[in-house]
């Protein structure tokens, strides 16, 4: 035996004296404890959750064969027109079931915001102001535009409200349910600070509660106030982080909005505590089912729309979310990726500038985005060409739509909104239990005695 190693016929790195690696305390966890012991605070980051949860990949479609008639996959008409808030005098009518969710000017650069607006307009869909108020160019470029009424009321202006096509009350977001927004001081430039009535350079932490209402009773009155200001023209949407979804959505329905937006725990953020991102909320496939059931149980299907966001990457995810009960899908992070997030563009040097390879960056909160998307630095912003970016956003939205249509047609639907839970099967017991669809190849839905009477 030499140097504590067992002699072997073959050279090996294996150390037989080592008992193993800790599952609870792997090196990454130990590093995290070391860092927090130095920092004395939680660690911030952008992006969505890192850990594996039951996700869209755990579901599969059951397309038509002989029991169902299929629609020609690439050409035959499959309607994608989507209406949010049908009861409003002026409902939000979108050409496709996907729109760009609220991301603030501040978290995102001017170029990114306007490119998203232009891309969405080209695709015939909507965008949303996000926190921090309206930038006029975003409104100008957006054919359909949600104005967000958020807890902080940063930049909230009644003159801008009356220009909106919809008003969204931000009550929570999926990746950090129960927490207010964050914008670290590096991104609070003079312009951003002025829009938000804050001193420049400070760490901006939005309140978690709205200032002028506390619970559903007050919210119902607040919704009516906004309706009065906008002459009952536009849909009012409530955005909730997915948590106690069934009860929360029942409460939301009682507030009588035109639309309810559920953000699953797969959703992303520009800045938030790492642990909140990992450990709050419930997955989208659970949230949609519960939200749909809550709206239906109160007899409001067709009156109150259900929008879902969180972890949508491709048209299959879109189609699955619609099949589970969503009327429309909002995307944020994947739209940022269409802009160039995590792309190894020639101007960027990810290892040098961010300390990670492209594809592994989650540093939106630093304001040093090397592709000019999540930054306010003029030099970095110059790396994003808004014209090309808008085109990419359009292309991505179009791709999502035709991919989702592909699944709808395969399942025999001439309207994408005709997708239903019966078009899906689960690949895992967990997915079956939380999405309420049968395990593939069986009639068995985990936790349900008789699936056909769910």
């Amino acid at each position: 035996m030499e140097n504590g190693k067992v002699p072997s016929k073959h050279k090996t790195e294996r150390d037989v004296y080592r008992l193993g690696d800790s599952f609870i305390f792997p090196p990454r966890v130990i590093d995290d404890i070391h860092i927090k012991a130095e920092l004395g605070r939680y660690r911030m980051r952008g992006f969505s959750l890192f850990k594996k949860i039951p996700h869209w990949d755990d579901l599969t479609f059951l397309p038509g064969t002989l029991t169902r008639f299929v629609i020609e996959g690439y050409r035959e008409k499959c309607d994608t027109k989507t209406v949010i808030g049908p009861r409003a005098k002026r409902p939000l009518e979108l050409d496709i079931p996907i729109y760009i969710t609220g991301m603030s000017f501040g978290a995102l650069s001017y170029e990114a915001k306007t490119a998203l607006a232009r891309g969405a307009t080209m695709a015939g869909t909507a965008t949303c102001s996000g926190e921090g108020g309206m930038i006029p160019d975003e409104r100008r470029y957006s054919s359909k535009w949600f104005y967000q009424c958020i807890q902080s009321r940063y930049g909230f202006n009644p003159h801008h409200l009356v220009l909106a096509d919809g008003c969204e009350f931000f009550i929570g977001q999926g990746c950090k349910v129960g927490l207010g927004g964050h914008l670290m001081g590096q991104k609070v430039t003079d312009q951003v600070a002025e829009m938000r009535s804050l001193p420049a350079g400070i760490d901006q932490r939005s309140p978690a509660r709205h200032p002028d209402w506390l619970g559903p009773d007050d919210l119902a009155l607040k919704i009516n106030e906004i309706r009065e200001v906008t002459d009952w023209q536009i849909p009012i949407q409530l955005k909730l982080g997915a948590a106690r979804v069934y009860d929360d959505v029942r409460m939301a329905v009682k507030c009588n909005p035109d639309s309810i937006y559920i953000d699953g725990m797969e959703g992303s953020t520009g800045a938030g505590p790492h642990l909140a991102t990992e450990d709050t909320g419930v997955p989208g496939m659970a949230a949609i089912r519960q939200a749909r059931r809550a709206i239906d149980d109160l007899g409001r299907r067709g009156e109150i729309s259900l929008v879902y966001a969180g972890g949508i990457r491709n048209g299959a995810d879109v189609a699955k979310a619609i099949a589970l009960g969503a009327d429309a899908i909002a995307i944020g992070h994947s739209a940022m990726m269409a802009l160039n997030c995590n792309k190894d563009i020639p101007e960027a040097d990810f290892p040098e500038e961010m300390g990670v390879e492209a594809g592994h960056c989650y540093h939106c909160h630093t304001g040093r985005c090397p592709v000019g998307v999540a930054t306010q630095d003029p030099k970095l912003r110059a790396r994003l060409d808004p014209d090309a970016a808008a085109e990419r956003v359009y292309n991505f939205l179009h791709s999502l739509t035709i991919e989702a249509q592909l699944f709808a047609r395969a399942c025999g639907k001439t309207n994408i909104h005709s997708l239903e839970p019966e078009d899906l099967a689960a690949l895992t017991m967990e997915a079956s239990a939380i999405a309420g669809v049968p395990l593939a190849g069986t009639d068995y839905t985990v936790g349900v005695e008789d699936y056909h009477h769910l």
Partner: protein, 289 residues
């Protein structure tokens, strides 16, 4: 606004107005058709459709048997007809009355309002002869609201400009998320007043409840009576001559100046220790929280 006159804009529906001002590209369908932003067109973002009213034209609305929406529609109609002084009779605590008035107007409310009274306004002078419920004057941009009796909680939440005055006492969370303007209260205020306040000034001639100015970013709070407790990062500081002069002027303007003057007021400002909270040493955080 090439080709569209102010008069035409006033007559348009909201949807047509947005299109006429170029704020929408709804008619665009081709993927290559962009609207380019021209900085010289900045005047598009003024509000020429707002009605021009005459304060000498006076109208009365008996709101007794009207719904809130009917009251608000009637106010808008009268403003379009040029009425600059409107009196609301028998409001009976209706919610959301007088919201979203974005122009000059002399509005007199003969009675009390419910929740969200005259919220989201920009410009009018409002005199409420009774009481108001929660969130009166929330998000007001400019103008004056004068409440003769008491006000509920979240008085002036997220307000940005103008003067919001209550001769009586106000509830909790007054001036929460305040971003500008002045709140002037003749009596006491409840807990958490000035929570996360960002800019502006508040005067309480009476006492203040628990956690006054909690987590305030900036702004100033003046209290004439006792303060039950201060919130996180709210600190007392010396009253300057400028403060005395401003307090005297504002309180005199609304006939609320105490007989003993303003020297006894306590001035509360942000300690600014939370501005870059994450950069603090752990021991410093412990001191603040």
């Amino acid at each position: 606004m090439a080709g569209v006159s102010d008069t035409e804009l006033r007559e348009m529906t909201q949807e047509d107005r947005v299109k006429a001002l170029g704020m929408t590209t709804e008619e665009l369908t081709g993927r290559s058709m962009f609207i380019e932003f021209k900085p010289e067109e900045e005047e598009r973002f003024t509000y020429p459709w707002l009605p021009d009213v005459d304060f000498n034209k006076r109208a009365e609305i008996d709101t007794d048997k009207m719904m809130t929406t009917e009251v608000n529609e009637r106010i808008r109609e009268l403003m379009k007809e040029g009425y600059g002084t409107i009196v609301l009779k028998n409001p009976r605590g209706k919610h959301s009355v007088g919201v979203g008035i974005l122009s000059r107007l002399n509005l007199i409310v003969e009675g009390s309002l419910g929740y969200f009274g005259v919220g989201l306004i920009d410009g009018p002078m409002v005199r409420i002869q009774g009481r108001v419920g929660w969130s009166c004057g929330e998000n007001m941009m400019s103008g004056v609201i004068l409440v003769e009796k008491n006000a509920g909680s979240t008085f002036g939440a997220a307000m940005r400009g103008g003067d919001l005055v209550c001769r009586g006492s106000v509830g909790s969370r007054t001036g929460i998320d305040m971003k500008g303007g002045s709140i002037i209260v003749g009596g006491d205020t409840g807990a958490l007043s000035g929570f996360m306040m960002q800019r502006g000034r508040m005067i309480f001639c009476g006492n203040a409840g628990k956690n006054l100015g909690d987590s305030m970013y900036d702004g100033t709070i003046y209290v004439g009576g006792d303060i039950q407790s201060l919130g996180v990062d709210a600190v007392p500081t010396e009253l300057t001559d400028l403060d005395r002069s401003w307090l005297t002027r504002k309180l005199t303007q609304y006939e609320m100046l105490p007989e003993k003057g303003v020297d006894h007021f306590t001035k509360i400002v942000a300690g600014k220790q939370l501005w870059n909270y994450d950069n603090l040493e752990p021991s410093e955080k412990k001191l603040i929280l």
